[in-house]
């Protein structure tokens, strides 16, 4: 009997917690409102099932608990009821899956004309590379990586010379322009994760992965690593600044190109810091 009341309280408490607790998703800053909608739809359907099944359980416990002289009803099965329940469940599943797959299709289909840039992950820091004036990122290979060429850009590829390199600085992106994140890792798995964007994707050494978003509000957001990448995993942080296009362009123009940073390194200035000292855990 107490258990029935407790089950009812668990249901009421869970729904109450859902509606009243201060812990909810962060205000969205990208175009993926559809993902939030799909989550809400899933909450509604599964929440209804949760409440219905558990309240029915509690009712059964109260109504059919053992009493003297009482005997259970003998009924091995009911094909009708089982088919009916299967159909109902299938409808609920389809109602969640169908919108989910439509949104997934949008998620993996990058719109034409999206800007491209690259995020490079390594233990335990983020770096970024923009295509420069020619609009093309130069070819890379981890075998090319040296202290002066931390991205491993192919020096023979002319498209790489004007690539804009951002190291040890915040990432900047323009407002309201679709942007494709090309994700690359030099060492282990990482995952570029900004909760407000609702998107994330693993970065795998030897592969280029991607996702795309359109930032929808200006602001400064934390970048986290979401794939365990060693002892520094929790400290692998970055910041992304979403700003108006003008401010973004001005910032981008101040960043060095690959050719400039190489020249500086060759001149002995060694502005590009040594990876092994920079890469240690902060």
């Amino acid at each position: 009997m107490i258990i029935a009341i407790v089950i009812i309280l668990v249901v009421v408490g869970s729904v109450g917690f859902h509606l009243l607790s201060p812990w909810w998703w962060t205000p969205i800053a990208s175009n993926w409102g559809y993902i939030d909608d799909t989550i809400n739809l899933t909450f509604a359907i599964t929440g209804a099932v949760f409440v219905a099944v558990l309240l029915f359980t509690a009712y059964c416990v109260i109504r059919f608990r053992a009493k003297k002289g009482h005997k259970a009803h003998y009924e091995p099965e009911s094909a009708k009821l089982e088919i009916w329940l299967s159909v109902l469940t299938s409808i609920g599943v389809v109602a969640m899956l169908t919108p989910g797959l439509f949104v997934w299709y949008q998620f993996i289909t990058v719109p034409d004309g999206a800007d491209e840039f690259e995020v490079l992950g390594q233990q335990w820091l983020w770096s970024y590379r923009y295509p420069g004036k020619d609009g093309q990122l130069g070819k890379t290979d981890p075998r090319n990586v040296t202290a002066d060429n931390p991205f491993g850009i192919d020096t023979a590829d002319p498209a790489g010379q004007d690539d804009v390199l951002v190291q040890g600085e915040d990432l900047h992106l323009p407002l309201d322009r679709p942007v494709k994140f090309l994700l690359r890792s030099l060492d282990v798995l990482h995952d570029f994760y900004v909760p407000q964007f609702r998107a994330k994707m693993d970065m795998i050494p030897g592969m280029v992965t991607y996702f795309w978003i359109t930032p929808t509000r200006t602001g400064t957001f934390d970048i986290l690593c979401a794939e365990l990448c060693g002892v520094g995993h929790h400290a692998m942080r970055g910041i992304v600044v979403i700003e108006e296009e003008g401010a973004y362009k001005k910032w981008l123009a101040e960043q060095p190109t690959f050719a400039q940073s190489l020249a500086k390194a060759n001149a002995g200035a060694r502005r590009v810091s040594n990876l092994s000292s920079d890469g240690s855990l902060r």
Binding site: F50, H73, L228
Partner: protein, 598 residues
């Protein structure tokens, strides 16, 4: 085959099954140590699993101390923390739950419930335990090697698993992989036994469709394990080669902290596919025995046949089959070909249908039952609550695009703990309260049992329910400390501290439970041979605890399915499976006939 009702079998030809030659122990050593009796092996398996499970429990306390009070416990370094979470996960999933359900419950109850004297290959069965024990010892040894155990996360994703930025990437990971390989070898020996015994060792009249769902659950889970574990075995061996011989199965060209490593050409994603090809069925290797056992607990203690027995069996088979085509739902954001998402999201959500049907049938078994709120029933009800909760959050994570913001957050941690941690453990507890009287001849103490139940159930729910919402907010998993993150308010720290305190309390109640098991062994109330008035064969043994060979001189003959509770016209509210129709007193208006519609 599909006849579930108690159609009368008046005559079963004798001597259809040959008597089994049993090995009889001649000394204390062969009776209690190198023993070939499945019941002793079951207890050896269970005690070993519980012992290593306690290590897993303590590790969870340590990690929660760090998460709840990050400033306070200065002796916990990031290295330690990642080692704690890794070993906690691996121990609980493989060395506790898998070993306890299959090696423990499987060994004890398969022969008893199908009416066999023992497993069909007792010697191999004994070897199975000893290899498992060695696997556990190797695992424990990894705590004592230089660098400690691996801290790569229980998923052991390369490349980081064998690289220097990960704790335990020298001796620790090697011992981990060796231990897993040994575990799989040991399990395979036991698993073959369980499958062959179910298929070949059943007593006369025990058709497949008369078996208790406990046996069905363990049987299907064992088939899954036999097919799934080889993928992990291969992955472990290849990773050992990458680590020890410098091969590059999973290792592409890598620059580690500015230095070129000599690896090249391997694929980290390949390991993930291998791991989850094992890892997803593994969820059901733990869940299906729990499904089976809880079906029987509900039926016995509600004094009512399980509702829709045939549907329950086919749902187990369907879930088992589907579990092999959903693995990449663990990899939606892994960078694999994104078009896989359509396929794996669809298969994953389809699995929800047979799973939901099982839940409906448990609840419908309660409907118009005669529910005795015994401890096993309380645990079964708590299982329904936590399993429904954990199951529906699976619909979030299975639906590919919903998974994108939630994966790698605390939402995932909350989901899988609820669905494959808390829910199956509640079934294990319920099962122990249910069968302890048969195994030991004594009842467990009721007062300590009530304390254990309420603290475990409500405590575990209070731990894992709120964690979902932290994940929804974006709090990542596997973080040693949050540090400064702008979107995380201070209240998250308060909640984490609360969860940590609950973890300690729930952990303490497990100590009470263990104490109860030891105390009742000596001081518990003497148990009736069939205290719950159950129908299945293990309760009909001539001795309690069952002796060597289980069933005395002659094996029982089975005349009916396992669920003849509250049959109209019968004298008692249960008819054991081995009671012939002629002995069912009263006007037997064979309900089987009455309900003969199809």
């Amino acid at each position: 085959m599909a006849d579930v009702t108690n159609r009368d079998i008046d005559y079963v030809a004798p001597a259809e099954v040959e008597e089994m030659e049993l090995y009889h122990a001649h000394s204390w050593i062969t009776k209690y140590v190198f023993c070939q009796d499945a019941k002793v092996i079951a207890i050896q398996y269970s005690l070993t699993a519980v012992a290593i499970g306690l290590v897993g429990l303590v590790l969870s306390w340590l990690m929660r101390l760090q998460l709840g009070f990050p400033e306070f416990f200065s002796f916990i370094d990031p290295e330690d923390y990642y080692q704690f979470i890794t070993m906690h996960g691996m121990i609980m999933v493989v060395y506790l739950l898998t070993a306890l359900f299959l090696g423990g419950f499987g060994n004890y109850f398969i022969p008893l419930m199908v009416g066999a004297r023992d497993m069909v290959f007792p010697y191999v069965n004994m070897l199975s335990f000893w290899v498992y024990l060695i696997a556990v010892i190797v695992l424990v040894a990894s705590f004592f090697v230089e660098g400690g155990p691996t801290g790569a996360g229980w998923t052991l994703y390369p490349p980081q698993t064998i690289m220097s930025g990960t704790p335990g990437s020298d001796g620790g990971i090697v011992l981990m992989l060796v231990s897993l390989a040994l575990f799989i070898v040991g399990f395979t020996m036991g698993g073959l036994n369980y499958v062959v015994t179910v298929l070949q060792g059943r007593t006369r009249g025990m058709t497949l469709m008369r078996m208790p769902l406990t046996v069905w659950g363990i049987f299907i889970a064992t088939v899954l394990a036999l097919l799934a574990f080889p993928a992990l075995f291969v992955g472990a061996v290849m990773m050992l080669f990458d680590k020890l011989l410098g091969t590059s199965f999973f290792m592409p060209a890598i620059v580690e902290l500015g230095e070129q490593l000599s690896y090249g050409g391997g694929s980290p994603l390949l390991f993930q596919h291998l791991f989850w090809f094992f890892g997803h069925p593994e969820v059901y290797i733990v869940a299906l025995p729990a499904f089976g056992i809880v079906s029987d607990l509900i039926s016995v203690h509600a004094r009512k046949n399980i509702f829709g027995y045939r549907m329950m069996v086919w749902a187990l088979v369907a879930i088992g089959g589907l579990s092999f085509v959903v693995w990449a739902h663990h990899m939606y954001v892994s960078g694999m070909n994104p078009y896989f998402g359509f396929f794996f999201a669809t298969t994953t959500l389809i699995i929800a249908v047979p799973t939901a049907l099982k839940v409906y049938n448990w609840v419908l078994t309660l409907w118009r039952g005669n529910i005795h709120l015994t401890l096993p029933m309380l645990f079964a009800l708590a299982f329904i609550v936590t399993f429904v909760n954990g199951g529906i959050t699976g619909l979030f994570l299975g639906n590919v695009v919903v998974d994108v913001p939630l994966s790698d957050t605390m939402f995932v941690v909350a989901h899988f703990h609820m669905v494959m941690g808390v829910a199956p453990l509640l079934v294990i507890f319920g099962a122990i309260y249910h069968w302890y009287p048969k195994i030991t001849g004594r009842m467990l103490n009721e007062g300590m049992g009530q304390f254990h139940f309420w603290v475990s159930f409500l405590g575990a729910y209070a731990i894992f329910f709120p964690l979902h919402y932290l994940g929804l907010m974006g709090v990542p998993r596997r973080y040693y400390e949050m540090g400064e993150i702008s979107f995380i308010p201070d209240s998250v720290g308060t909640l984490n501290a609360f969860v940590t305190v609950m973890t300690l309390i729930v952990g303490f109640s497990q100590v009470v439970f263990l104490f109860n098991m030891v105390w009742s062994l000596f001081y518990g109330k003497k148990a009736d041979p069939n205290p719950w008035k159950a129908t299945t064969l293990e309760w009909q043994t001539p001795e309690t605890p069952p002796g060597h060979g289980n069933f005395g001189k002659e094996l029982p003959i089975v005349y009916r399915w396992a669920y003849d509770y509250s049959v109209p016209g019968a004298k008692d509210d249960f008819i054991p499976q081995n009671v012939p129709p002629s002995q069912v007193s009263g006007k037997k208006k064979a309900p089987a006939r009455r309900r003969k519609r199809k």
